[in-house]
Subunit: 186 residues, 2 copies
């Protein structure tokens, strides 16, 4: 099993995780999450998570970008894996830094290729299209799901402008859950 210690490699400016057995330096880099607000006739596609963290809560089809993929490739792959949806992307809706957990999230706006068709993939319990007023705000999996939904609400079907960023109340992505009473205020 790996036996990591933290130390400053020669020539580096930050402590890194170094394997005491191998000497391997495990550079811990931020990871890229790619996801999509898939819109159909004013409704949005949400997935109820079958996996932890936040099993049972609703999220956008999104996940970690894999090596060799473009951000667009990754977003389309996740829509297929989690929601069995074949989609096209309109452009970048939002870009979030979740520094607390070392993530950069790229959120697209997208739509179904052809008529709306979807089903729960292996990591989802359920997949559904929600009208804005019916979105299960109290059962969203992550703050950035709420942020992205509000970014979509602001732009609608119109031209995409500069991507939305973190909300002013959480510029670093430091809060795991929104402060009480702000669930739909953003």
């Amino acid at each position: 099993m790996p036996d990591f210690i933290r130390r400053l490699p020669a020539g580096d400016e930050r402590e890194r995780r170094v394997c005491g057995t191998c000497g391997f330096i495990d550079y811990e880099n931020p990871r890229v999450v790619v996801g999509t607000v898939v819109v159909d006739d004013g409704c949005v596609l949400l997935c109820r998570r079958e996996i932890e963290p936040r099993r049972g809560y609703w999220t956008l089809p999104a996940g970690f970008l894999e090596l060799g993929e473009t951000i667009e490739d990754g977003a389309r792959r996740e829509a297929w894996e989690e929601a069995r949806a074949r989609i096209s992307l309109d452009g970048v809706l939002a870009l979030y830094s979740i520094s607390r957990i070392g993530q950069v999230q790229v959120m697209f706006r997208g739509r179904f290729d052809g008529p709306a068709a979807f089903a729960a993939g292996p990591e989802s319990q359920d997949v559904a299209l929600y009208r804005w007023d019916d979105i299960p705000w109290d059962s969203l999996a992550f703050p950035s799901v709420r942020w992205a939904l509000h970014a979509w609400r602001a732009v609608g079907d119109g031209p995409l402008g500069a991507p939305a960023g973190n909300p002013v109340e959480d510029p670093r992505g430091a809060h795991p859950l929104a402060p009480a009473g702000t669930e739909t205020a953003q």
Copy 2:
């Protein structure tokens, strides 16, 4: 020393690098590069690289996002490290996938805090402000430097729209250098 082999970990769908000594799984994720087109009075700040790859060639102040940073933090840090410039960011100018080398690049438009002030940091041979017509197009370090400069040219000082993406001739970021004759065509 680490002794990595490639194999499929249990429950995974992709081969990963696994240390034959430790069993450590080295998930190779795409990395995030953050950089800035720093604009001053119609000129742009470029840095001549002191380090490989592409030592001696010109680039934008940019580098790998570190864990715990927001993308804005990282872009400002790189401007300081490479160009000794204190800057503010206007917003996201471009978002590139360089799948060949597993990078996602976030390029901002920015400006100096106060009057233009800069100097070569330890990773730069030289730092200079260039007018558009004087940019050393034949000595740029990376295709995405050229892409970002053209994205800036398209938007100027005006409002930032949806971020530019990869050029149509290289949607996956597959070309290490631009095809001959297209150096300034994008």
